[in-house]
Amino acid sequence: MLIRTAELTKRYEVGGEEIYALRDVNLSVERNEYMAITGPSGSGKSTLMNLLGCLDTPTRGTYYLNNQEVSQLPDDRLAEIRNKEIGFVFQTFNLLPRATALHNVELPLVYSGITKEERKVRAVQALQSVEMGDRAAHRPNELSGGQRQRVAIARALVNRPSLLLADEPTGNLDSKTGEEILRLFEKLHAEGQTILVVTHEKKVAERAHRVVSIMDGRVASDLRQKG
């Protein structure tokens, strides 16, 4: 079991009123699952993603990631977990504009204290695995959207995380390029990578083997399809 949450709840107070962004979510994800979280905007799927990505802590409930309870850890411990366990892929790529593709991919390794030489070797490998080996020296503004997302995926994978967490990964791409990225995900999944895609696009969600839909902060359905 890679992920197990119990009664995961996130509550905000807005103007004295309590708003539940997420309420009693129980979710389990096995290793090497390819899962989509879907739901309309305001459903709480972004909150769930932030909690699963250890960017935020829940108001209540427990979250075991890789058999470690992470729901109430301090900031710096969460940073460590994000660094080692989670690879993020964002809708807007979120590459550092002034840094080369290579340097962008090296970033997670910088924060895990890996030596310069090893960083370079591993970053080059990661770029090659997404077929961007020949673009290592390019800056993001010299790359197409699809290429940028590939670099971002290389960055997400470079520290060999347990979980690849993708937030609307095809949202800023045309359908052809989006299709390429989805095929890349399938390839990574076939290689054993656990992938969690957060999306409101039905076509993207359907590519996953399991679709969890969120509605009003609760799990509305949990469907397994294909294998």
């Binding site: 993020f88 550092l96 970033l107 204290g113």
Partner: protein, 406 residues
């Protein structure tokens, strides 16, 4: 995060905003430039004072009408009303001051010196009574100095300073020639070695003659100075006391009356200079501190802008695993690098300013390594102190908010 990584991020960020970076550190540039220049001038003045002290020689003090340094018009008037120090005083001191190793005397005034058609105005004509010659680093370059016997017989002999010799004789040998001081003729017996100039005043525009000959021409109305050399440093005070007693007796001073003459030694020069240089230094430090504080606040302000501009970058870094201290150090290093950049530019400009001062004024401004090191330590600290607040703000950013920032 290793330091090298932080530094390279910082330098890239500064390079991306070249103009802004330079404008931000203007305060630092000016402050450091000033501190470098002021310290260089003080250093230069130090060497001037040292030179003056060396000119007086070790263990020497001078009996004369007033102090070396007169700081007000009132003081000058008071001194001009005092009794002159005379050759008779010199004789008495020679007879009575038993602990002195040697005693001399001199008087000087500015005159026109001629040789045939050529002349030099405003030559420092000095009447000297051996054996002490001031300045102590005076040396004969050609010919000889006049002797005791020649002084006693008031012989009209002259030793030329190198500048006077060059101007009057060009390349010819002046020894044996006859020069005129105003209208009186003197035979040149020697030429002094070049001594250079101190604070723009040439030490070589001089003419030395026996004090007796000087007084024969210019009269005895001037007050002479009597340099007295003590045997060693320890006996200096005792010798001074002896000379003071002689002068007080000659001037018939009552015990409660102040000295109406001065006993000056190198200490009076260095003490005076210490006061002045301290005052300059304190004033300059105050101004520099003020502009550094202003400069630091500007740096802090720009760093806050930089943190805001790069909120998204901070979010990305945090999502990828940057801890608070990573972000903190990244921005602290950037602020220190920015401040130090200003310091380095300030040092370079200060160095340039020194060169200009040296070329345009007689002050021998010289850049010292100590002031450069001090300047760099100061800007480092300014960057560190004023970087803490913005860096801390960056470090505390919430990654979700930061990632959402447009």
């Amino acid at each position: 995060m290793p330091f090298g990584e932080g530094l390279s991020i910082a330098l890239r960020a500064l390079w991306a905003n070249k103009l802004r970076s330079i404008l931000t550190v203007l305060g630092n540039i000016i402050a450091i430039m000033s501190i470098i220049a002021v310290m260089a001038v003080i250093e230069g003045m130090n060497s001037y004072v040292e030179n003056k002290v060396a000119g007086l020689g070790a263990n020497v003090f001078v009996v004369q009408r007033g102090p070396f340094i007169i700081t007000s018009h009132e003081e000058l008037e008071k001194i001009q009303k005092r009794r002159r120090v005379t050759v008779e005083d010199l004789e008495q001191i020679r007879r009575s001051v038993s602990t002195a190793s040697s005693i001399g005397a001199y008087d000087s005034s500015a005159h026109k010196v001629r040789y045939q058609e050529r002349y030099v105005e405003q030559v420092d004509v000095q009447g000297q009574d051996l054996p002490i010659l001031l300045p102590a680093n005076f040396e004969i370059g050609k010919g000889r100095l006049f002797s005791r016997a020649e002084i006693d017989r008031s012989r009209p002999l002259a030793v030329l300073g190198s500048e006077v010799a060059d101007k009057l004789f060009e390349k010819a040998d002046p020894v044996g020639k006859e020069v005129r001081v105003e209208s009186v003729a003197y035979t040149v017996v020697g030429v002094a070695k070049e001594q250079g100039s101190v604070l723009g005043v040439s030490q070589d525009k001089t003419l030395l003659m026996p004090l007796s000959a000087y007084q024969k021409q210019f009269g005895t109305l001037g007050s002479v100075s009597i340099p007295i050399e003590a045997r060693d440093k320890e006996s200096m005070a005792a010798t001074k006391d002896e000379a003071r007693v002689v002068m007080r007796v000659r001037h018939r001073l009552k015990p409660n009356q102040e000295d109406d003459f001065a006993l000056e030694s190198s200490e009076s020069l260095t003490d005076f200079w210490k006061q002045i240089s301290q005052a300059i230094f304190m004033t300059a430090s105050g101004l520099v501190a003020l502009s550094l504080v202003v400069g630091g606040i500007v740096i802090m302000n720009i760093m806050l802008v930089s943190v805001t501009e790069r909120t998204r970058e901070i979010g990305i870094r945090k999502a990828l695993g940057a801890k608070r201290r990573h972000v903190l150090w990244q921005f602290l290093i950037e602020s220190i690098a920015l401040s130090t950049l200003g310091g380095v530019i300030g040092v370079l400009l200060g160095w340039l300013l020194c060169a200009v001062i040296r070329a345009a004024t007689p002050v021998p401004a010289s850049l010292s390594l100590v002031s450069v090191a001090l300047a760099l330590v100061i800007v480092f600290l300014v960057g560190l102190i004023f970087g803490i607040y913005p860096a801390n703000r960056a470090a505390r950013l919430d990654p979700i908010e930061a990632l959402r920032y447009e």
